[in-house]
Amino acid sequence: MPVLPFRFQRTSASFAGLLVAAGCSQTKVERNDTHITRAFVSPVTIAVAPVLNFSGEFSLDPIAAADLLASELTYVEGVTVVPLNRVMAVLAGQGRTQVDSPAHALAVCEALGADAILVGGIMEYDAYTPTVGLILQMYEPNRPPPAAFDSLVDRRLALPFEASRMADPFSPTSQVQLVQNAAHEKVQKAVKKFADPRDEDETHLGWRQYLKVQSLFLRFCWNDALARLMKQERSRRLLLAGGARTEDPA
């Protein structure tokens, strides 16, 4: 599993940073190229729901897919991830195995005491190409209401549906949808950029294993979706703040 050595690397880098801050000498600090810039000013706790399988592909394990999403979420700065087994425990207590509506997702999030919950859906899943189509939504139970709505700011941020969506407490605060086909050259370049810093197993396939192994490709897809979601979330928070540029921590 490539994620374990990488987590170790990240921990090492953080620890190295602490050493430098404490005045210790440090000859080499490895640069972490795989993190996702945070969208939140203060740290947040986010839960991940079991993935909804709309693909019709029975080989897809919704728990394993959610686990990959939760794992990629740990690469987002400022986010603490609620362990998936806690989410499953809450669902089991309700006699369910997955969230069945946005209202249910929000209720699970509140039961967990998390700030937000991610609900992912797999729309297409071809393990051989591989190809993945997905949607990812974020729900927040206690989101702040939209303050003074500025249509000019809304237009500038190119979020035409934001104003109406923010008024509905059961709507996702942000969402993305994407399709990634490993046969496409553009996707292969993105996979290489994503996988190179993580390729510590040094298999003969190198970064290309992320194009061959479906679980690794799905990991790439979730990471890409999370990066887009966080970008959108930054824009939304900027909009909520009335366009104040100080809100964007990036």
């Binding site: 509506s101 859906g121 189509g133 109406s164 969506r165 709507s171 996702p172 949808q177 399709v179």
Partner: protein, 69 residues
């Protein structure tokens, strides 16, 4: 670009949601998804809106691919 009427449908419980639209009016249809999902009296929720908007996006993508070939 195809000019025939496009259609998206969703069966949920006892309800069947059918959206017919002309190409070029996709933004209006997404607006209809959002309005329906925001309507508390409707079973149609934001999961459904996401699924249908995904399908719409894929359809547009396929049409663009066909135009390129």
């Amino acid at each position: 670009m195809k000019t025939d009427v496009q259609q998206l449908s969703l069966v949920k419980g006892e309800h069947r949601y059918l959206f017919r639209y002309q190409p070029g009016h996709e933004a209006d249809v997404i607006g209809a998804f959002a309005a329906l999902a925001s309507d508390g009296s409707s079973e149609f929720d934001w999961f459904d809106a996401a699924v249908l908007s995904y399908q719409m996006g894929r359809r547009i993508e396929t049409e663009i691919e066909e135009l390129r070939m």
